[in-house]
């Protein structure tokens, strides 16, 4: 199956000429790209570009939205739906109170386990939990990956409107 070079002189010359031409074409293409402006941009590190926003809808770090009227200052009613649906079981909520006063006293999300699947945001009946566009979550210490109630509350304070997409099929009513 293998091509054998040099079986006959004319073939060899033809192959050499075609090969040289293909190499020149390749050089032309890379040359053009050398002159063309690059498409990469510098990684938007927070300390370099604090105003950089990822594309809209990006699923980043978590936040709990605030509601000053409610106990704990949060919208969250500690219904544990997010904790239950989380495929990675990375949400741990300690609820307190009954009925309308029910609120979380601890709300821990281990973002090291989280796969940012958005199911918890989708399932929340009061749109209390959301994902911010914050993309710089890398750290060298695993305990820094755990978000607790205060961190989440602090983040949520800066978000005026819940970042939510339109309702989706799987949270429609009906069924058991």
């Amino acid at each position: 199956m293998r091509k054998r070079y040099g079986d006959n002189l004319w073939d060899l010359l033809r192959i050499l000429a075609a090969g040289a031409w293909s190499i020149l074409v390749g050089l032309y293409i890379t040359g053009i790209n050398l002159i063309r402006p690059g498409v990469c941009e510098r990684y938007p590190r927070r300390d370099h570009r604090p105003d950089y926003q990822p594309r809209p809808g990006y699923r980043g770090d978590f936040a709990l939205l605030s509601d000053p009227e409610r106990p704990g200052g949060l919208r969250c009613i500690a219904c544990l739906q997010c904790q239950n649906i989380c495929p990675d079981q990375c949400i741990h909520i300690t609820p307190e109170g009954k009925g309308k006063d029910r609120h979380p006293v601890q709300f821990r999300i281990d973002t090291g386990l989280c796969q940012f699947c958005w199911l918890c945001v989708e399932v929340c009946p009061v749109a209390a939990i959301t994902m911010t566009p914050d993309y710089e979550t890398a750290t060298d210490q695993p305990q820094k990956l755990i978000r607790d109630l205060d961190t989440l509350r602090e983040r949520g304070r800066n978000i005026p409107e819940p970042q939510r997409v339109e309702p989706v099929g799987c949270v429609a009513d009906g069924g058991a």
Binding site: Y5, L12, I23, T30, N33
Partner: protein, 357 residues
Amino acid sequence: MLSFIANWLRDLLTAWFQAWHVPLVFVDILAWIVGGVAILILVMVVALVFIYLERKISGYIQSRLGPERVGPWGIFQTAMDALKLLQKEDIVPAGADKILHTLGPIAFFVVGLLGYLVIPWEEGGTIARMVDAHVGVLYVLAFGSLSVIGILMGGWGSNNKWSLLGALRGAAQMISYEVPMLLAVVCVVLLAGSLSLSTIVDQQKTLGLLSWNLWRPWLWLPVILYLIAATAEVNRTPFDLPEAESELVAGYHTEYSGMKFAFFFLAEYGNFFLVGLIFSVLFLGGWSSPFGYPDPLRIPGVIWLLGKATVTVFFLMWVRWTLPRLRVDQLMSLCWKVLLPVGFLSLLIAGTAALYV
């Protein structure tokens, strides 16, 4: 300019040594040491600069940015990388031949440096002048082919199968491509009638750009031949088989880290630049100005030489980031079945030209 400084230094030293009644032979020894150190520094700087350039150029070719974090436009990136390599632990794999493992990069590096001794930096500015006057071309080729020993030492001494494969590939490749490279250079030697690099440059200096060997049609085949063979000699894509990273991890320097790896890396770029230098000397008029002799712009010859070598190196970098790699059997058949006959053919053409043109 260089020879002016050198002569001035030499006169100064001679005067001092005479004043202090030191035998004058020490002046020569000192001059050799200074020359050697200068070359060492030059190679270091050149390697750093060209590693940076390579990264930047490859970045631009690939629509990227290249290094740009350390310093403005990232110019300190390679220096920082070198520092990082200095700090790194020197790991010798278990079962490795420690002596060979250590000697490999050193041999590779030293041999890479030696070629610089006979480069005519400017008119009369060669460090090993006597060597160059007689056998400069031979010397360069001889030491160029010695670098295979460093590769073999490193590859064998690492006690790693990938390294061994890489080293054997390297040996086969560098010895094979020595032949077409030699044939290409012999064509130039035939026309110049001298084995001295300085004479070859002298022959191309009179009309500046126009008298370059590059423009002589009977030397076009050697030009292509030399570029191909020299790329293979310095193991760069499309001939980077000894270190083919997608096949052999990193080839003969798989097991190297820290300073030893840095030696391999620096020497590789040192060799690479040497190829550029020799190409400029052989075909691009070396230190001579492209605008005629003497230089109407009064730019020192060494600048012209470095500039021409840089252009050559840039071209080879461009080629590197364009082409895929050959396979080992294709590499050999290219050498022995294509380049060697072409080399003889070009020798015939150049010989005829030397007789009748």
